[in-house]
């Protein structure tokens, strides 16, 4: 199998806070990430696609086509934003690395067919690195 992985970077702020928990429980659970004013990260997003390289071009996917999708549907939403307030999906969702990964994977999955047309290449994995020591990944079926 051949997969191709492309890395993208975006900077965003967030606050981890579960409204159904008490203030003390939130501090106990999320620690510094519960700071009421929020804080930010330089996120790294890895998008992995799977498919056979085209017999003529040798490409699994034209990189510019993947870049356009990720820029239009993901980076434009998240880059230099406060995720809790600026990204609609997080109105009622704690922006943990897990949930950010899940939302990005779902957005890419939903837009994939529209954007890729007849191409047989499929999205295989989404990985989000919040810091160099903290990342989350999910396989996309």
């Amino acid at each position: 199998m051949t997969t191709l992985t492309r890395l993208y970077r975006f900077s965003a702020s967030h606050r981890l806070h579960a409204p159904t928990l008490s203030a003390a429980e939130n501090i106990s659970l999320f620690g510094k990430c519960n700071n009421p004013f929020g804080h930010g990260h330089n996120y790294i997003l890895e998008v992995t696609v799977a498919g056979e390289p085209d017999a003529v071009s040798g490409l699994v996917i034209p990189i510019s086509r993947l870049d356009r999708l990720v820029e239009d549907k993901i980076l434009r939403l998240f880059s230099n934003r406060y995720i809790n307030l600026d990204v609609a999906q997080f109105a009622d969702l704690v922006p943990t690395t897990e949930n950010v990964t899940h939302v990005i994977a779902n957005l890419l999955k939903r837009e994939w067919r529209n954007h890729m047309g007849e191409s047989t290449v499929r999205i295989a994995k989404v990985r989000v690195e919040e810091t160099g020591r903290n990342s989350c990944e999910t396989c996309v079926n």
Binding site: M1, T2, L4, T5, P53, G58, L59, I63, S64
Partner: protein
């Protein structure tokens, strides 16, 4: 168990098809299609799978793996213009995917029966890599 050895080589290439127009080449390959070529510092990670030898405590002697990578990949590709000097890239576009698959082909029969090539990961830049697995 998997062991992985890293190797680096620097090479130039062009990704374009003479059968296509300039506009089509730009659309498909982007900056990679510039007709005079350009280069990368490729980083190669090769993973080999096998059981740990009870005497040596090793899946494989990493020096042997290093020597295989040196002989089969680095020596023929380092400081080369892939399209001109490294077959089959006189006929096949040296995209990251095609290069990773060619590296797989060059390595897959280099190991004794108790070992198997498990993954070839090739970074063309820090932001783009291809994995080849069985």
């Amino acid at each position: 168990m998997l062991i992985t050895r890293k190797a680096e080589f620097s090479a130039s290439h062009i990704c374009r098809l003479d059968s296509l127009s300039e506009t089509e080449n730009r659309e498909i390959f982007g900056e990679e299609s510039h007709p005079n070529g350009h280069g990368h510092n490729y980083i190669l990670e090769v993973s080999v799978e096998g059981e740990v030898d009870p005497v040596t405590g090793m899946v494989m002697n990493l020096k042997e793996l290093k020597d295989i990578l040196e002989k089969e990949i680095v020596e023929p590709m380092d400081h080369r213009f892939l399209n001109r000097e490294v077959p089959p890239f006189d006929k096949v576009v040296p995209t990251t995917a095609n290069l990773a698959r060619e590296i797989w082909r060059r390595l897959e029969n280099q190991f004794p029966a108790r070992l198997a090539l498990a993954r070839v990961r090739l970074y063309e830049t820090a932001d783009l890599f291809v994995d080849v697995t069985p």
